[in-house]
Symmetry: C2
Subunit: 194 residues, 2 copies
């Protein structure tokens, strides 16, 4: 299983309009593109991938949403489709445990620290000054990526509490979803030995 | 200059609703994601990139739209933002020559053959059975990618009329926008010698 955590510092925690993902929904467009990048193949889904979104925006933060590639349905590649499933999850009365809102999509109350504790795995943390992804090997990887605001010092401390390595995907700073595409390409090549 | 051509076989050629890019607008979402993948850096735009969209859907095909990274403004990373600029271009009365609809966005009547003839360059054609992108070098590259329907036999014939090479980005079939991200990563690495 390959897991991706993306932190949405402004992503709202109540149902939102699908017509203004960057503005009123707190850069929800970034998280939607990350869901796409993590889960979609050309005519299939990556069934061995889970995407965890950490929503830290108003009015009821923090919340966690999980897309499980093995079970998700009704997901199309466009941003609005992922946003629609996130919105449906936010319509649920989130508890301290996971509740499925749609097939393969779940929500719970909780912050990054809760999620890292639950997964309790070595973390591969994406940062521009990390070591080059090429040449790395990945076994049951857990990637953590920030949104347009990066990762805060407090979040870095949470990450540092686990075994971790800091990895970079290339020489130029990229959007989180673009980083995910490159990570997948590297893992695809490793798995196919090319 | 790095140029990308993406062929939208169903992409509509008249103004459309921004609320249904995959359906009524003929998989316009694919073209919007390609614009994002080709032009966006983390907190900047790739100024040395142009994206050409070939719109082949009803009611008035074919039309060509160009996003020029050196000049484009009012473009945000979300699909709806690119779609809004495409829609504005389609509101123009397209001629047989380029007309600017917004800064850095132009439209003309024309098909793939017209565009290839105008650019008149060696083509790097993305196809699953191509040679691995790693190890290639790129000078003023012109990439051609298909949408969810790939590239038709007739389009392949147009491509074959030019000097060309067939390249693959990895072992698994990916969406066009994901291919563009990987192509950029390869070129970024070549330019920075890493």
């Amino acid at each position: 299983m390959k897991d991706f955590i993306i932190i949405g510092h402004k992503a709202v925690t109540a149902p939102f309009s699908l017509n203004d993902l960057p503005g009123a929904a707190g850069r929800m467009d970034i998280l939607c593109r990350c869901v796409n990048a993590a889960l979609f193949l050309s005519h299939d889904l990556r069934r061995d991938v889970r995407v965890y979104l950490v929503l830290k925006g108003e009015p009821a933060p923090p919340k966690l949403i999980c897309f499980n590639g093995a079970e998700v349905r009704y997901l199309s590649p466009d941003e609005r489709s992922a946003a629609s499933l996130i919105k449906k999850a936010l319509e649920k009365n989130a508890q301290d445990f996971w509740t499925e809102s749609m097939p393969g999509v779940s929500i719970r109350k909780g912050e990054l620290g809760d999620l890292l504790s639950e997964l309790n795995r070595k973390i591969t943390y994406l940062r521009e000054d990390g070591e080059d992804v090429r040449g790395k090997s990945f076994e049951e990887p857990l990637f953590v990526l920030g949104d347009h605001l990066g990762v805060t010092d407090d979040e870095e401390k949470l990450i540092e509490a686990y075994k971790n390595e800091i990895v970079s995907v290339g020489p130029i700073s990229l959007h989180a979803d673009h980083c995910i595409v490159i990570l997948h390409n590297e893992m695809d090549r490793l798995e196919k030995h090319i």
